[in-house]
Amino acid sequence: MRRLAWLQELAGPALLVIVTALLGTLVSISTQGYFTDTLVKVAMVVALYTFVGNSGVLSFGHISFVAVGAWTAGVLSVPSDVKPAIMPNLAHMLRDRTTGNLSSLALAALVGGICALVVALPLMRLSGLAAGIATFGVLEITHNLLRYEEKIGPGLNAFSSVPETTGLRQAAIGALVVVVVAFAYGRSRFGRLLRATREDPAAARAVGVSIYRQRLGAFALSGVLAGLAGGLYVHLLPVNTESVYLDLTFITLAMLVVGGATSLWGAVVGALAVSALDSYLAVAENGSSFFGAKIDLPAGTRVVIVGTLMAVVLILRPNGLTGGREFRVWRR
């Protein structure tokens, strides 16, 4: 039993995802959407954690890989008969090809990973604030190009007519896949080396760890996961360039930091806690009752409350709700 103690670090986050999905089956169809959305957010935050949490370097650029994933999956899954109507300027190569749900998700992950790798090759030489601003630059450039480049997508318009295959089940499976991959990476030799560079870069270097290479690998892997999350997202709702830009960047980063940036457990807990609060308030704003309580809030208060609570949590618990520790029922 003791030898399997490490398994609880996977079991905790995975169980949370499964419980969320099961809870989602109990509520009405309209409320279920919030649970599905939450699970996709879990996938995004865990993807972000894979790089930010393990390396200790902030990245504002991960939502661009979510966007790239969403674009890939979206363009490839719009049915070919409506494609010319929605995206008249699409490149020929993309116009003639349409794939199924699963292969569009796989391609989203692949393209996300390739973009992340290309970006990381030069950028991982930077660190600290310079790295932060450079990744912000990546987000700006991606947003700008996707917004105006109509050869590769709908440009300013939203992705309509993408088959809505991300239901509760697909979101849960996707989130689980991301959690398992992130966990496996964290347990692997590379994950440990990267965390060593986070804790003490000088010591890590002294024992022969290449900080550049470790960060490069993690960035590319988290790009794969972010691309997958983006694919899930575009199959959930009509994504446009604004829905995968600053707001999503802030909210996912905030989820990660509120949960505790240095652990997988923290990433999942943060995503679930902030999403739960946000969805609850969204329902409350609509004036319907949800889990017993009936409140009626004026529209817009939701964001104010979420923002305030985020600031309060950060001030009171700067290491996040979990303190940045992994899930453990019993300690070895």
Partner: protein, 302 residues
């Protein structure tokens, strides 16, 4: 000028770019001063400017005289920055930069959503200073008055700031603190006072920026100055975050570059301005990660 003519740049573009550079330089100092003493990147700086701009809009809606509107703008922005310092910056002092940055994100988010709740997404129009938008002609070049005002005000503010930093005790304390906060405290610098001073000066600069930006762009929306903050942050890091002067130069440079690029790009490509701008930022960062305007390359501990 022949070279410039090919690139479609005229004197008007250069004047506008200079004005934008001046405004961005002020924002850069505002962000750089607080970073110097607190090691905190204040992402909510743009929302201070936004709050100031809304005060101006409200004042002109209520029919207040110009000076009263500007006074209200200063009062609101200064009060808000003091509040931010007491409620957010002080409890977080000494925490990791990531936590502080995300906390200022939360504050920015909060202020923006409060503005959205109060004023709605369509925003308000600040009209009281609109006459500054009228052009005057200097040797066949039409220049908006605000361009000249912005350049002059920015220059005056920067000179005043340089005097404050170089010639006064509190300025000395600020410079010492931004070099090494611990040592400065041990040598008798009052931490709270020097931080409060930096926050106040940075708030005052935000108010100045609010006045000038509302003249150039009278429609005040909840995301007013958000884009500018992002660009200025890039500029500050480009210039060199640790010292006020490189940070200011970085802010000016990025404002000037973005004004020039805006004028130089052919119209069918001007929508890609952010791509060009941020690609340039990334390139420069790769070559000089410590900043362009810093003297020696700082060896950073990863």
């Amino acid at each position: 000028m022949t070279m410039l003519a090919i690139w479609n740049i005229d004197w008007q573009t250069i004047a506008d770019a200079t004005a934008l550079g001046g405004v961005y330089a002020l924002m850069a100092v505002g962000i750089g001063l607080v970073f110097g003493v607190l090691r905190l990147v204040n992402f909510a700086y743009g929302q201070l400017v936004m709050a100031g701009a809304f005060s101006l809009a409200l004042a002109s809606q209520w029919g207040w005289p110009q000076w009263a509107g500007i006074a209200l703008c200063f009062a609101v922005v200064l009060a808000l920055s003091m509040l931010m310092d007491r409620l957010v910056f002080r409890p977080l002092r000494g925490h990791s930069p990531a936590v502080m940055l995300v906390a200022t994100f939360a504050v920015a988010f909060l202020l923006q959503s409060i503005a959205l709740l109060w004023f709605g997404p369509l925003g308000k129009i600040a009209t009281s200073l609109a006459y500054l938008n009228r052009p005057i002609t200097i040797s066949h070049v039409d220049i908006r008055k605000i361009t000249i005002v912005a350049v002059v005000v920015a220059a005056l503010c920067l000179v005043a700031l340089a005097l404050l930093l170089e010639r006064t005790t509190v300025g000395l304390h600020m410079r010492a603190s931004s070099m090494d906060f611990q040592t400065a405290r041990m040598l008798g610098v009052r931490a709270n006072r020097v931080i409060a001073m930096a926050v106040l000066v940075s708030g005052a600069l935000a108010a100045v920026v609010a006045v000038m930006l509302t003249v150039q762009n009278p429609l005040v929306t909840p995301d007013f100055a958000l884009r500018d903050t992002i660009i200025v942050l890039a500029g500050v890091v480009l210039g060199g975050m640790n010292r006020p002067i490189p940070a200011t130069l970085g802010g000016f440079a990025i404002g000037f570059a973005s004004g020039l690029l805006g004028g130089a790009l052919p119209t069918n490509q001007s929508q890609y301005l952010p791509t060009f701008l941020f690609a340039a930022v990334i390139l420069v960062l790769l070559v000089r990660p410590g900043g362009i305007f810093t003297r020696a390359r700082v060896v950073e501990r990863v």
